[in-house]
């Protein structure tokens, strides 16, 4: 019992006690032989009635004074007082009792749901360890200025975004991204608030204020998500506005027209029994007229769905976007950063066997030749070479010449090495075959440095030193790597109802088409300028409108860095890998904190589940209510059934709503 009540607030505990007391009294009064003492019986039944219902009666009275007649309290008051007048004491008390049980249950469920969300979103830091003049002081994170040094001990939450200046550690970012793999950080790395320091002491220079930090932004976003209401929410609040008065007027009509029709059409005699039968039916109507069950279950489902999703690193910025997300049929994806990693990697090294040089050696020569270049292609070759644990000895490289737009020629040990595109090879007079692989190709050639000066002197730019004739060694293929989960994610999207997956890219067509084939994209548009992407998405929107059902939506997925206009015109903008990128969080409707394409599918599944729950609740609750209204009008359902239906529907709807929160295993 203590465990059960410890989470209740004062109001809830009070109501719980009143409900228990009234229930006990009701049972006792039922057992007492009071039939012969009508006045005593009435007075005794008034005790549990007032115990459990006094606040409802008071609120109903205030409602009348404020000209707000159609509220739940008024309806309950009329229904129960009516029952008392008809002499149905135990029913009157029971209706009030169950109504209050329903209210209590609802308030506990809502409170519990609020608490579980704040537990799931446990990223709000309570303090920061500010270092000032060599001393560390615990302060409110709000007070820490940009550029201050804070200390983060193992086990503590990172309070503010910053850059590590000292120490190394691994960070648990699972509360932010849903990713359980820890992230290692060392001096110079950016760290993000809301993650938890797991192993070492870190000194961090803050780069943002607390309010602008990731953790605060995410929390604000999740809290405000409920303000953008979904269509189903708007439908329900409209329904509630219309439903209660409609049922009240029908109740009145039933009480008056019912007996009149019976008398005039069926020639029944007008007696007290007839009138009280119809009044009882009308009162049953009033019991069913409370719309609270449906009204609470809808925002509760969305709240749970949005909260559960954010715990998985998926931020959905409003209930309305949950609906859009559940109906995505067309998905348009940017290539770089979404399907591919966006960093260039050496994917193949093709040597020319006849020159007796192996892959590793050629890669080494190329890496050395490119060792002074800052071009991304050059650094990817260096990375590939160093990946095997080799260390690049820049001392072996002398006399580097960059040939603009073509490549580089450098002296490595006793050789001259040329690495560059086909144009460079042509310039040097090297015979080589164009590689058909997709990507950027770097051709490598060499010649011995001390050789016949009359042979092979290249024309054109650069005073390339004289040497032997150039020998073609082979080529290196560099392409943007496809993310490991991309193909799987697209297959699953199609299983989940995506009609068409489109890829847009600024890259060359051959590369784009190869990526598309590999991951299973239906339609590719390559060599696009940013403004072309906007026109293309507009075209696809028109195509979707013509082909699919009006509810179908189009989502655009990008990395959020320079596709803000496209994110904005699509029905739904999804930004990926947004952790730490404010611009992406700002521009998109759904934000995926990490860059795993599987999260797109997960987000769709979460949204579908949430919308399914909302629809189940709406139709179940409305269905049961209308069934009870019909049975009540026919005199089949009595007040007991009505109140059980009312409270039961609410309990079931609320329990069903809570399901929206559980999205972990999806």
């Amino acid at each position: 019992m203590t465990k059960l009540t410890e989470n209740l607030n004062k109001k809830q505990k009070n109501l719980l006690l009143r409900v228990i007391a009234a229930a006990v009294m009701l049972v006792v009064l039922h057992l007492l032989p009071l039939e012969d003492y009508p006045v005593l019986r009435f007075l005794l039944f008034m005790i549990p009635y007032l115990t459990v219902g006094y606040d409802i009666l008071r609120k109903a009275w205030k409602g009348i004074l404020n000209h707000q007649v159609f509220d739940e309290c008024f309806l309950m008051a009329v229904a129960t007082i009516g029952a008392m007048i008809l002499g149905e004491y135990s029913e009157g008390v029971a209706v009030m009792l169950f109504y209050q049980i329903g209210e209590l249950f609802q308030s506990i469920a809502v409170g519990k749901s609020r608490r579980s969300i704040s537990e799931l979103m446990d990223i709000r830091p309570d303090y920061a360890n500010l270092e000032q003049d060599g001393e560390v002081e615990k302060v409110d994170p709000d007070e820490v200025e940009v550029g201050s040094i804070i200390v983060i001990r193992p086990g503590e939450k990172v309070p503010i975004d910053g850059i590590v200046v000292e120490g190394s550690s691994s960070l648990n970012t699972s509360a932010l991204t849903g990713e359980s793999l820890p992230r290692d950080v060392k001096p110079g790395d950016e760290i993000i608030s809301g993650s938890v320091n797991m192993s070492g002491l870190l000194r961090v220079e803050t780069t943002k204020e607390f309010d602008e930090s990731t953790a605060s932004k995410i929390l604000e976003l999740v809290e405000n998500a409920g303000e953008r209401k979904a269509k189903s929410e708007q439908f329900i609040s409209k329904f509630a506005r219309w439903y209660t008065p409609a049922v009240c007027y029908s109740a009145l009509a039933l009480a008056v027209l019912g007996p009149l029709v019976s008398i005039l059409v069926f020639h029944r005699t007008s007696d007290l029994a007839l009138w009280s039968d119809w009044i009882y039916r009308a009162l049953t109507f009033l019991v069913i007229s409370c719309p609270c069950a449906i009204v609470v279950s809808v925002p509760l489902s969305f709240f749970g769905g949005i909260g559960g999703a954010s715990n998985q690193g998926i931020l959905i910025k409003g209930s309305n976007f949950m609906e859009t997300l559940a109906n995505v049929k067309y998905i348009v994806m940017d290539k770089t950063g979404t399907i591919t990693k966006g960093n260039f990697e050496v994917t193949a090294v093709h040597d020319e066997r006849e020159h007796n040089i192996d892959d590793a050696h050629m890669l080494e020569l190329a890496a050395l030749a490119e060792s002074h270049s800052s071009h991304p292609i050059a650094s990817s070759i260096r990375r590939a070479y160093e990946a095997d644990g080799a260390i690049l000895d820049k001392g072996r490289v002398t006399d580097v010449q960059e040939v603009s737009g073509k490549g580089v020629i450098a002296a490595v040990d006793a050789l001259q090495v040329a690495a560059g595109n086909l144009k460079l090879m042509k310039m040097l007079g090297v015979a080589c075959e164009a590689c058909r692989s997709v990507g950027t190709i770097v051709y490598v050639a060499s010649r011995s440095e001390a050789a016949d000066p009359e042979n092979g002197q290249p024309a054109g730019e650069g005073s390339v030193q004289a040497g032997g004739s150039w020998e073609y060694l082979g080529h290196i293929v560099i392409s943007d790597e496809i993310k490991p989960g991309a193909a799987d994610a697209i297959r699953q999207m199609k299983q989940n109802g995506i009609v068409k997956a489109v890829m847009l890219t600024g890259d060359i067509t051959s590369m784009a088409e190869s990526v598309a084939r590999e991951v299973g994209i239906d339609e590719v548009h390559a060599e696009l300028l940013p403004e072309d992407k906007v026109t293309l998405v507009e075209k696809l929107l028109a195509e979707k409108k013509a082909a699919a059902s009006p509810k179908a939506t189009l989502a655009f997925v990008g990395d959020g860095i320079n596709d803000a206009p496209v994110l904005a015109i699509a029905d739904l903008g999804i930004a990926m890998g947004a952790l730490g990128s404010d611009a992406a969080i700002e521009a998109a409707d759904v934000v995926l904190m990490d860059d795993d394409p599987a999260k797109i599918v997960k987000a769709m599944r979460i949204a579908r589940k949430c919308i399914r729950i909302v629809n189940e609740n709406i139709w179940f609750a409305i269905g049961v209510k209308f069934a009870c209204l019909l049975l009540g009008a026919l005199g089949i359902a009595n007040m007991w059934l009505a109140i059980f239906a009312d409270v039961g529907v609410m309990v079931l709807c609320v329990l069903n709503s809570v399901r929206a929160l559980f999205v972990k295993g999806m």
């Binding site: 609120k59 205030k62 409602g63 404020n66 707000q68 509220d71 739940e72 209210e103 609802q106 308030s107 809502v110 749901s113 609020r114 809290e223 405000n224 409920g226 303000e227 209401k229 609040s237 509630a240 506005r241 719309p291 609270c292 009204v295 609470v296 809808v298 925002p299 509760l300 969305f302 709240f303």
Partner: protein, 72 residues
């Protein structure tokens, strides 16, 4: 101008009623009540005095739902 206020209300339908009452108040351009987060976000008309408007919003809400509270 937009401002956010903490509120207290017991039931979801009551929150909807508060939203309606707030939207009908003069000086309020748009108001949304977030029942789950217990927050009211109010967008004021140009030139309206938020403090005075919110007093009115609060009393209008109290009329439709006696048990509610807006923390100003």
């Amino acid at each position: 101008m937009k401002k956010s206020y903490k509120i207290d209300v017991d039931c979801a339908n009551c929150a909807n009623k508060m939203e309606m009452a707030a939207n009908k108040t003069e000086g309020v351009k748009n108001a949304t009540v977030n029942f789950m987060a217990l927050k009211m976000k109010v967008e004021f008309e140009d030139g309206a005095d938020p403090a005075a408007v919110m007093q009115q919003v609060r009393s209008n809400c109290k009329i439709v739902e006696d048990d509610c509270e807006i923390f100003l």
